[in-house]
Symmetry: D3
Subunit: 67 residues, 6 copies
């Protein structure tokens, strides 16, 4: 019955990539901890780059500098 919340910046992840992520994380929890996939919940949240900071500045600012 695990619950997994994945936050990423909203920079174009496709439905197919998100489906792979859901399947992959669910499998990891089954393989490593024996968790039941039927009750494993995965929620992906996509966050604007203005709203995500690391190193004290936004991802928007970092992308402008080429990082």
């Amino acid at each position: 019955m695990p619950y997994v919340n994945i936050k990423i910046t909203n920079e174009g992840a496709t439905a197919e990539q998100k489906a792979q992520l859901i399947a992959g994380v669910t499998n990891l929890l089954k393989d490593i901890l024996g968790k039941n996939p039927a009750t494993t919940v995965v929620v992906i949240e996509e966050v604007p780059t203005d709203n995500w900071g690391i190193g004290g500045e936004s991802i928007t600012a970092r992308r402008k500098r080429g990082q």
Copy 2:
């Protein structure tokens, strides 16, 4: 002073339903635990069906199969 975060898929919950949910959860916390409604915070987040997985697949995929 509880904080409650409710995540649901974005499948058309109305403002009225969300208001009922906020009132209902706040009352439960007062009735069961004696928590003060004035400082009880409820935040509802609506998540696209591509971004929600259970059983290793997205809700989008489940809906297509009629689940």
Copy 3:
């Protein structure tokens, strides 16, 4: 398939009270939004009063003042 996270201060909620909260929130989501209880997940987190702030001060400080 909703996911609900309830954070409260760790001031002695009993297992019975937590069971009532789980049942109550699950029923609310069924009654208001038609959500399936079988896949409704509720996680309660109990937080030390030193670690919870409101109004710019900790709950520990507020309790000392009789609030």
Copy 4:
């Protein structure tokens, strides 16, 4: 390596204000706890006023009453 999640209502915070918030919180964690800014992550989430409740009612309802 702290992780900070800030939830506010979506009532017009600008990119500049969000950048100030990211910088300010990162500095606080360095100054108070000696945390390394390079691995301090700040994520800001903006929530519709229909989806945020306090005192058992939505912010939308409170705003209508002039609060």
Copy 5:
């Protein structure tokens, strides 16, 4: 720069299993979305079975019934 929060019940996951989970999720995000492992954060939270509900009842109650 993804942030991943994994919540499981506190039923004896070992440090080794948690290390495998951290490595596995970080690799998935690199392989599927090209995310940089150096800034991928994974936080695992272990929740008492009294505090986790599914189907309207606690995991403690379910375990007593042999589920």
Copy 6:
């Protein structure tokens, strides 16, 4: 009415430091966004180093290597 969740590793933050963090974050939200301190909630969570990963490995493993 902002809600702020701060996650740090459990490596000895004192009650005094946590009180400073609560006051500091509440002030930032007032100064930058005009948010009312009376309804600003700050919750600090302290996570064991085995349960926190960055760069694909746990903080426990990083600390052993002197990082």
